[in-house]
Amino acid sequence: MLLIEKRDSTKNQTNMTDLTAFIIIAFSALIHASFQLSISMLTLLSSHTIGRKRSARRLFTLTSSFSFGVVLMTILLLSLFAQIINTFIVSSGESLLVWTIGCGLLTGVGVAVWVFYYRKQLGISLWIPRGFARFLSTRTKRTHQSSEAFTLGLGSVVAELLFIIAPLTIAAIALTYLSIGNQLLGIGLYGFISLTPLLFITLSINGGTSISRIQKWREANKGFLQFAAGSGLVVLGFYIYVEEVITQSVMAAARSL
């Protein structure tokens, strides 16, 4: 895990407090949690494991390994993004530029989620290339070992990078404002919140809830989930634009007078 030096907020002309950074991280993680590819793969994995008459213990091992893979890859990507942002962009003192890029990403991905995220057909197919989706489905069906489930969890996060890149980037930027101890806390907070739905589904399935019930709920609410994820991204983008771009620019202009 990469820990990065806390930024000097005075030098970078920002008034971001630790609390604001944590709120941005938590909200980004919440948006990340509303994305569905890992959940789809988890339900598919569970459905095949139960259908093959595997034991409850095997089901638990596979679903836990999958979830562990997801959270580990999420944390690694977040740390990597934070390190890249800190090394190549923020250390040059261009905090306005980095926030502006982040806002553009949030708004762009937010609109894309509104328009594209789910395919307009029966079921809960997502807007990822069909060949890739078929590969993921086949791999999920053929998963028998916990190590395979773990790798599948890692892969599911990478497969959804097109959508989760926006909340990950914003959380990574916010992380660079925290002290090293708080960065660990921020990474843990992001990992935990983004994992919550997966944890809930894992516990529900292992507790005996029918997969078709979960899938029906997801299908019935897919429009809402899509709208919530897209809106969350756009709202966060707008907030950051006002708070970190406009406010800082106005303050800088006032100081120069």
């Binding site: 259908g51 093959r52 008459k53 079921g123 990822i128 997969i211 078709s212 029906k216």
Partner: protein, 91 residues
């Protein structure tokens, strides 16, 4: 003998295999936590319904088989039917 044409016609067509259908319906029923005996019975019934339908045709597509099986399953086990129907539309 009824010929089954695979999805998109990409793979070679094959003979209708009752066991294959039985296995997938059985798995769908087990996935929604049906007891094994009930799942077995449902799969037997659905396989028979589809077999009778297939026997009247010289050739069918694999999508047709899935659709007919899902319709029949809807009557006997709606929850399993939902899972069976949307199985390819999860990811």
């Amino acid at each position: 003998m009824t010929e089954v044409i695979k999805r998109n016609g990409k793979r070679q067509s094959e003979e209708f295999k009752r066991e294959k259908l039985h296995q997938s319906v059985h798995a769908a029923c087990l996935s929604v936590r049906s007891p094994d005996g009930e799942a077995q019975q449902t799969a037997d019934t659905i396989s028979m319904v589809v077999r009778n339908w297939v026997d009247q045709k010289p050739s069918v597509t694999s999508s047709d088989i899935r659709r007919v099986a899902a319709n029949a399953l809807e009557t006997f086990h709606p929850e399993a039917a939902y899972l069976y129907q949307t199985h390819e539309m999860v990811v």
